[in-house]
């Protein structure tokens, strides 16, 4: 357990945490406004596919990032239409959407790239050393020698928190999730606010997908999200709907994942199944230990009907 081991461990944790941070920051906002983001998983896949497609065809990574985020946002409209305007059960719509997203991106992937050609690689985002800060032992390497999408994810979390806590827009969002009737009475258009929150969630989930293809893998493989969207949901509850805490929790989850890989490498008599389950086990334990007085937004998951009493 020396410094270089810890540095490598947490640097890997940070890299693995980035998609989780993007996904959970967006979900914090949408859940605060009263809509559950079960659909993040599917939006990540959409984001991953379209960011790869556009980055590959245009040769511009930033266009890829933008189109990935927009793809996530547009796909979220589909879910939003059903859950906000047609007032259907958000979880069921979300699960249906995830199945649709996996199938639809597979379909596009095969139509565009075929099944037999070696997938074309793109040059991924490279780590950028932040002068000065990256010289700090351990912390410098972990937090200040990462690629640009990592820095953006942290900035996004901080800005989101500030907007939610300090601005009128943020407070109105909270009201929409806590007491939509009161919000409506004070002139807030509940459904419009929920739509905006949902779109923001789709936007960040798209970024999460982009970070998978454009900063980690360099290509798209089918169902690349591999369950990360669901981890985001747990992180949001753990973080009590606070984007900055979610950022830390995402980093924590990534680090435990990095740790279990390293524990396997060190070799032990413990079966590998235990290590594979470890990140999820710890998430569960933390939820039980630290979650005794978690209070979700009051109207979370409840469709709002303007005309109801």
């Amino acid at each position: 357990m020396n410094a270089s081991f810890l540095t490598a461990l947490f640097a890997s944790g940070m890299r693995q945490g980035v998609p989780l941070i993007y996904g959970s920051v967006g979900d914090c906002v949408s859940e605060k406004a009263g809509v559950v983001g079960i659909c993040i998983e599917g939006e990540i896949i959409f984001g991953a596919f379209f960011s790869y497609l556009f980055a590959l065809r245009s040769g511009n990574l930033w266009l890829g990032v933008l189109m990935g985020a927009i793809a996530g946002m547009i796909s979220s409209l589909l879910v939003a239409a059903w859950s906000i305007y047609f007032k259907q059960d958000q979880s069921i719509i979300g699960i249906m959407f995830n199945i649709f997203a996996a199938g639809f991106t597979n379909f596009l992937n095969r139509k565009i790239f075929g099944v037999s050609i070696a997938s074309e690689k793109i040059e991924t985002f490279k780590p950028i050393k932040i002068p000065g800060l990256s010289e700090i032992p351990v912390i410098g390497e972990v937090f200040f020698n990462q690629d640009i999408l990592t820095y953006l994810s942290i900035v996004l979390a901080v800005i989101t928190l500030l907007v939610m806590k300090k601005t009128k827009l943020g407070l109105q969002m909270l009201a929409v999730g806590e007491n939509p009737k009161a919000a409506q009475a004070s002139g807030v258009q509940v459904q419009r606010y929920r739509l905006i929150a949902y779109m923001f969630c789709g936007f960040t989930a798209g970024l999460a997908g982009a970070s998978l293809t454009l900063s980690t893998v360099g290509s798209f493989t089918e169902v690349i999200s591999a369950g990360r969207g669901f981890i985001c949901l747990a992180i949001v509850i753990l973080a009590r709907w606070n984007p900055v805490v979610a950022c830390i929790a995402g980093f924590g989850f990534g680090s435990i994942q990095a740790l279990q890989l390293r524990l396997q490498i060190m070799g032990s008599v413990v079966p590998h199944q235990f290590f594979i389950a470890l990140p999820y086990l710890i998430t569960l334990v933390v939820l039980i230990v630290a979650g005794h007085n978690i209070r979700a937004p009051k109207e979370l998951g409840v469709p709002f009907d303007k005309e109801s009493r």
Binding site: S12, R15, S119, A226
Partner: protein, 355 residues
């Protein structure tokens, strides 16, 4: 206005669900759920009844450039051989397999293949119910059923993938400079376990002092996790890595490419998948297309069923040409060992123990 939007969105979602079902839903209605892999065959089969209807159940997706992709290629090879109608279903877990086997039998398929040892149990159950249908399992027979009690309409191709893994172990041991080599596996099935153990055995046959670091990622689909796994190994000093885990393995190759570390291809020659192909020392090739398509002749000959053990000796398992990074004397030594396995001088018994 609202109604029009609702209608439009429903239409989009419905189309989308169909696209999704193409891969995932049970093959009840063959026109919707079963994807016929070549349009031309579908057309010609309208004119005359297909000679045989063949279906494959796959654990992953056909775009993995590996295990599932080669089965798909095998299916295409069958189609090219004559008037056969083919279908496949992807992403089927072992617990779903029974339902899919049964669905294909009910839809009139004559030959149903389960691509993976994990389907063995389900196949045995269904095979007893449909004695007229022939089955095939790419892997060993379930260990808890005595060989004489296995249904006679199943062929188990207990091919020796572990022989390839053993040879990779030999190459890794001869090529490592740090004295540490790595194995990344995807999951918990007999093929994967025997690969891991044979790799360790192969390394030890050259130098027992070399450390073998192993990680089972638990997933065949998480490319990003595969990459982080390989990076973690490389940081521990590992300088040759074998992966046998499809999409996850592609991430391992990517990490090796980035960090200039030697690796091996799995199932197909995967050197073309990375920018520095010479880092892929060799690939263990498994001729799944041949393994599958050669069954047709056996079925026609009428003596189908049982357990076979293809391997290096009959070319079902083989090694791809060595990369430029492998020195001539290493290549010579490895080729000699391959020959010894072929002739039976070295016998590699699959070892299914987990740890």
């Amino acid at each position: 206005m609202k109604k029009v939007v609702a209608l439009l969105l429903s239409a989009v979602m419905a189309i989308g669900m169909m696209a999704g079902c193409g891969e995932k839903a049970p093959a009840v209605d063959s026109s919707v759920a079963v994807e016929s892999s070549a349009a031309s065959v579908a057309e010609s089969s309208e004119a005359q009844e297909a000679e045989m209807k063949i279906a494959v159940i796959l654990p992953g997706s056909i775009t993995d450039e590996s295990w599932n992709h080669t089965a798909y290629v095998g299916l295409q090879a069958i189609e090219a051989m004559g008037n056969y109608e083919t279908a496949y279903t992807e992403n089927i877990t072992a617990d779903q397999a029974e339902e899919y086997f049964r669905n294909y039998c009910e839809s009139g398929f004559d030959f149903v293949l389960g691509h993976g040892a994990q389907y063995g149990d389900a196949c045995c159950v269904v095979a007893e119910e449909y004695p007229d249908v022939n089955f095939f399992i790419t892997g060993n027979a379930p260990a808890d059923i005595p060989e004489e009690e296995l249904p006679t309409n199943i062929m188990f191709s207990d091919y020796r993938e572990c022989e390839g893994a053993y040879v990779c172990g030999v190459v890794a041991a001869l090529m490592t400079e740090s004295g540490k080599v790595g194995y990344v596996g995807g999951g918990n099935n007999t093929t994967q376990q025997s690969d891991k153990n044979a790799f360790i055995e192969g390394v030890a046959s050259i130098d027992p002092a070399i450390e073998v670091k192993t990680v089972i990622t638990g997933t065949f689909d998480d490319t990003a996790l595969g990459k982080e796994t390989a990076i973690a190994m490389i940081e521990e000093g590992v300088d040759v890595i074998l992966q046998t885990c499809d999409h996850t393995g592609l991430g391992v190759l990517e990490a090796c490419n980035e960090k200039d570390v030697f690796c091996f291809g799995y199932t197909t020659d995967q050197s073309a998948l990375i920018e520095k192909p010479e880092l892929v020392l060799t690939s263990m090739l498994i001729d799944i297309p041949f393994m599958i398509s050669s069954q047709i002749d056996l079925i026609k000959a009428g003596n189908y069923g049982g357990v076979t053990f293809p391997g290096l000796h009959d070319g079902v398992v083989s090694m791809a040409p060595f990369s430029a990074n492998v020195p001539a004397e290493v290549a010579e030594q490895v080729t000699a060992i391959v020959d010894q396995i072929k002739s039976g001088e070295i016998v590699i018994t699959p070892n299914y123990s987990e740890n």
